[in-house]
């Protein structure tokens, strides 16, 4: 989270305080920072449980693994992404976002960031057995996050021009719901594969 704030507060200093430029790059900066900071925390999602064997015990119990994975993902979102969303008004101020832009940004963040956690967890499940999976994780995930990034920033851009952006939101929402339905099973499967 500190990383997120640092990145965003450095941008106005580096680019200059011109409101027009900041408004232009603002949504993109916030989204890129959100994606990168979610990657930072993501790596630890299953690692401790994998290393101390809790994950084995979980798999050998009757507890449903997809449900447990979903709870893990929810915990990740609540601890490492929700604080960012709570702080986002302040950061929007840094980047001179006007009010309609901020509301659009908030909506895309609320709909889009759970997607980061859900999809990210699949890749974490796959790389948990590797010792230095961090770089691989980023390489696996960043291409997958690009569509989300495009739709989210384009929604905010539309908002800045006083246009409708419900189409972009609808697409992000559809991606979120699809991943909410399928990701827990994919995560569980990835974790089982990683036991080998």
């Amino acid at each position: 989270m500190l990383f997120f704030i640092l990145v965003i507060s450095l941008f106005p200093l580096a680019v200059g305080p011109e409101p027009k430029t900041l408004q232009l790059i603002g949504p993109g900066v916030i989204w890129v920072a959100a994606i990168l900071s979610s990657l930072l925390g993501l790596e630890r999602l299953f690692r401790d449980d994998f290393q101390d064997g809790s994950l084995e015990q979980l798999m050998l119990s009757n507890t449903s693994l997809p449900a447990a994975a979903l709870v893990k993902v929810l915990a990740h979102w609540l601890t490492s992404i929700l604080p960012l969303i709570i702080l986002s008004p302040l950061l929007a101020l840094f980047l001179h976002l006007n009010e309609p832009m901020y509301w659009a940004l908030l909506k895309t963040l609320l709909l889009g960031t759970p997607l980061l956690s859900l999809i990210g967890a699949i890749a974490v499940g796959l790389t948990v057995g590797l010792n230095r999976g961090g770089v691989l994780l980023a390489l696996l995930l960043l291409p997958v996050f690009i569509p989300l990034l495009i739709f989210a920033t384009s929604a905010v851009e539309s908002a800045s021009m006083q246009l409708q952006y419900s189409a972009q939101l609808a697409i992000i929402g559809a991606m979120f719901l699809l991943s909410l339905a399928l990701a827990p099973f994919a995560i569980a499967y990835a974790l089982r594969v990683s036991q080998t």
Binding site: D48, L60, T63
Partner: protein, 209 residues
């Protein structure tokens, strides 16, 4: 009736054949002692038996049912103790065990947990983070599971005696014997000779290159 039986099991790990065409069965009250050098595939065998890893060929049956088809039923009656303890170092002993019991749908009172920990010589250490305990004490916390799962039919134990002192080994041996007398089946690996007063079947895995 065989609690667990294995037919034509072969496992390959990192391009090395660990064992092939392995067949055995463990009856109720049976104790199978898996022997072998380091790297012979003991742990891999136990992980396959527990259903953590799939075998390259062959099948594992629990009460005549393929474990892939009765995963939930199988795991309800299984206690697996592996190299990794499955203990979270930041939680206390009691929290760890409560968590494990909940996970495995074992209903148990906190008093029982405290009593068991006392039996394992962990009096006064129940509430501090497990990270502050010694290696042997951490293992004792994990081994307390042997006292909890009453409906278990099979224990799969991978080196349960490592890092334990003599008194600990005796205590665990006694608990294993009791479980066997009660009709449970045990598959165990150990580099120390088993000090169990119980008829033992042995399975020796050869190290292959």
């Amino acid at each position: 009736m065989a609690v667990i039986s294995v037919i034509n099991l072969s496992v390959v790990k990192t391009d090395r054949l660990l064992f092939e065409h392995l067949n055995f069965a463990v009856e109720q009250g049976g104790l199978l002692y898996v022997k072998g050098q380091n790297g012979a595939g003991k742990t891999s065998l136990l992980r396959v038996l527990a259903g953590l890893v799939n075998a390259d060929s062959g099948k594992v049956y629990f009460s005549q049912q393929n474990i892939k088809d009765c995963r939930d039923d199988y795991h309800q009656h299984l206690v697996y103790f592996g190299h990794k303890l499955g203990i979270n170092l930041t939680l206390s002993a009691v929290e760890n065990l409560q968590y494990w019991c909940k996970q495995h749908q074992v209903v148990i009172s906190v008093d029982r947990i405290f009593n068991t920990l006392a039996q394992l010589n962990l009096v006064g250490l129940e509430d501090i983070p497990v990270a502050n305990l010694s290696a042997g004490q951490q293992r004792r916390v994990a081994l307390a599971r042997f006292w909890f799962k009453q409906n278990a039919k099979l224990w799969i134990l991978d080196e349960p005696f490592t890092a334990l002192d003599n008194q600990g080994i005796e205590l665990i041996s006694k608990q294993i014997t009791q479980f066997l007398i009660g009709g449970g089946a045990v598959v165990i690996t150990s580099h120390q000779a088993l000090r169990l007063d119980y008829p033992t079947d042995e399975l020796t895995l050869e190290y292959r290159i």
